[in-house]
């Protein structure tokens, strides 16, 4: 079962109104996506907490309709002084085209 990329983006925008969001269909099959989300709401959160926030935003689709999502979360550069972990969004390398099964 596949999921539309615009639907992923809509759910993410709904949960993180301030975020810079990029959703890429890695294989063009509507089943393997990559997403980058940079939001000030990640400030002070661990990577696990950040990823969980994104999974929560997807409202249970992750692991269900959404089969594979290579996820990268970050704090926007202007919020980095606020005690964030991890490098700035702009400094991140390109998403890896990693595949699910």
């Amino acid at each position: 079962m596949a999921m539309d990329g615009t639907e992923i983006e809509r759910l993410l925008k709904q949960a993180f109104p301030d975020a810079q969001i990029a959703v890429v269909d890695l294989r063009g099959d509507g089943d393997h996506y990559g997403a980058r989300v940079a939001s000030a709401s990640f400030v002070g959160k661990s990577r696990i907490q950040q990823h969980k926030m994104v999974y929560d935003a997807l409202q249970g689709q992750m692991g269900g309709a959404l089969h594979a999502l290579a996820l990268e979360t970050a704090v926007p550069a202007q919020n980095l002084d606020a005690g964030a972990t991890g490098p700035a969004f702009a400094a991140r390398p390109q998403l890896h085209s990693i595949s699910g099964d």
Partner: protein, 111 residues
């Protein structure tokens, strides 16, 4: 009331310093995400126990509620949930994974 699957998962996680819940076995991963974590651990020469969730439906579902994490693979170090494939890769690339293993006294190529 105890949940037998959760108890079993606890025992599995306690059975080795580094435990990877994955699809397939380390020599033959059945999923690219699982394979990526296996490669990282192998590259660091970290001994780990691979648990094939495809051969154990109870663990496959149980591990997701155990960690409140919706996907496989899941990596545990000394009983602590570290993350899925993306987090493990980010930590590896930042050198944080090797540092964490060394902090926990686990032998790897970096130590």
């Amino acid at each position: 009331m105890t949940n037998p699957t959760a108890e079993r998962i606890k025992d599995i996680i306690a059975s080795s310093d580094v435990v990877l819940f994955m699809k397939g076995v380390p020599a033959a991963p059945q999923c690219g995400f699982s394979g990526a974590v296996v490669q990282i651990l192998a590259g660091l020469k970290v001994p780990f126990k691979g648990v094939d969730v495809l051969s154990d439906p109870q663990v496959r579902e149980g591990i997701k509620s155990f960690s409140n994490w919706p996907t496989i693979p899941q990596l545990y170090v000394k009983g602590e949930f570290l993350g899925g494939a993306d987090i493990v890769r980010e930590m590896f690339q930042a050198g944080e994974l090797a540092a964490l293993l060394s902090d926990k006294g686990i032998q790897s190529a970096a130590t």
